[in-house]
Symmetry: C2
Subunit: 298 residues, 2 copies
């Protein structure tokens, strides 16, 4: 299988072997908003062309924003609760390209939400588990509850985007750059938010006030801010998502997952980090369900 994890700002192509193992990998900054000349077809050819010539007949499957309305071909959302089988039944075909695209998942009702790409990582990281809780930190963090082996409910937190925006465009970012005090300040921020039921808008100013009153090193203010946001996410998400006996599984970039695991620890919650390769494993499982590849267990 040739798998692509094609997001807003970058794309990763993977040659995927049995059980979802990654045999080779290429990455480009060709997210759907910054394609090279020639657009999607040219990017796809540059990424997968060589593998396709060498191994003719390999199925190609992509997940992520490439299936959004702004993507190559829109893959309409699969409705939650959604298992790998339901997702696999709704692949969208890119006409003439030899590529299929995994749909995102939509949650309807009073608290609607959407995902594109994360469903594949959850399917890959949680495998056959009947119950689970996946946490995918990032620009838009997702908390995803799995029940009866299906994505049952989820919620998006704009933690990463809010952090980057506040750091870049408010008085909170006017502090000195990070220093050695970083880790302690991060922990302080996590605990301040986790132990308080104050709103974020009030907590945020405390970062500045603590510095002005000499209770926080200016160099630690950014880490404190990061801690506040992650602590607030864990506090509020846990209320809705935590379940006795279910260990949250962190999926994503290693350094960010480690930061979240530390924050979970500080909040008294044991979380584990999923091994790398969740997207590849998810694409492989979905391709199996869709009958694109044979052999091995689903």
């Amino acid at each position: 299988l040739i798998g692509l994890d094609w997001g807003t700002s970058s794309v990763r192509a993977m040659l995927v072997g049995a059980e979802g193992r990654v045999l080779a990998e290429k990455a480009q900054p060709w997210g759907i908003t910054r394609l090279p000349e020639g657009g999607f077809p040219a990017a796809f050819a540059a990424l997968a062309g060589e593998w396709r010539s060498a191994l003719p007949g390999l199925p190609c499957l992509a997940c992520g924003m490439v299936g959004s309305r702004q993507g190559w071909v829109e893959a309409p959302y699969c409705e939650a609760p959604a298992g790998a089988d339901a997702i696999a039944a709704m692949l969208a075909e890119v006409p003439g390209a030899g590529l299929r695209i995994v749909p995102g998942v939509v949650q309807r009702g009073d608290r609607p939400d959407v995902m594109r790409g994360e469903e594949t990582q959850v399917v890959g990281a949680l495998g056959d588990a009947a119950r689970g809780l996946a946490v995918l930190p990032g620009t838009h963090s997702k908390w995803v509850r799995v029940e009866a082996g299906r994505i049952a409910g989820f919620r998006t937190f704009m933690t990463g985007e809010v952090f980057a925006t506040l750091r870049g465009h408010t008085i909170l970012g006017a502090f000195a750059p990070e220093t050695a005090a970083e880790d302690a300040a991060f922990a302080r921020g996590v605990l301040a938010a986790h132990q308080s039921d104050e709103g974020l808008a009030g907590l945020l100013f405390s970062a500045r006030a603590l510095v002005l009153t000499d209770r926080l090193e200016p160099g630690g203010a950014i880490a404190f801010l990061s801690g506040l946001l992650i602590g607030d996410e864990i506090r509020t998400a846990s209320t809705a998502f935590a379940e006795a006996g279910v260990v949250p599984v962190l999926i994503g970039e290693a350094a960010l997952c480690d930061r979240y695991r530390l924050a979970f620890d500080l909040c008294g919650i044991a979380a584990r980090v999923a091994p790398p390769g969740a997207a590849a494993a998810g694409l492989w499982r979905i391709a199996r369900h869709a009958g694109l590849i044979a052999g091995g267990s689903v």
Copy 2:
């Protein structure tokens, strides 16, 4: 009295008569970060020179960021609890300029906070009241509790700055401009945040998800976002600041105060809007306490 309300982005000079009535007024965009050529002395001369020549001997008193470390002369903070008398005892003099500056107020302890300028508005709007709650909406909203006629405790919410930043620099601002659906969407946002104990980072994404699932008009998304932020501020601040029998008094720009009063209404709290002139009244009261002017009741 010649009074100046001198902030970060603008300055207002007022000729203040008995009981704090504003007899004449001049405004310039000469906040402390954007002074005209000649700096503070030139700005002060351009604003107050004519009045000072016509009415020699009039005392001059300024409040706001002009007294910060980045201002003309630093006026060290007065410690809360702080009444008009304690504030008046700590005026800073600008050498040779014939101008005094009102100090800000600092709250120490585990939840430190600071204000500069708002203390004067609170003194002006609440007058002799022994107990009260002032809410000053804006870039950095302040909730200020008055006990025994003094500023006893307060908290800053970065509501306005967070709103402007999110609208300008995140996917939430990518929606269509405001439309007629605005007021209903604002109310929906207020209620969504007030009735939920979810964190802001989760609520924020709901603005986007509601649009994507056709449950919110794209044109109402910005008003919904504004409602979410103000509703979250009222929910979390009320927990700490609401007291039975104390009516919150809104101080500030009329349109913004009206928006907050509507939000308070939606949250089941009756608030009233202070008449204009809070800064002038506060400067007059502080000048009386400092013995700069005589006559009339303090």
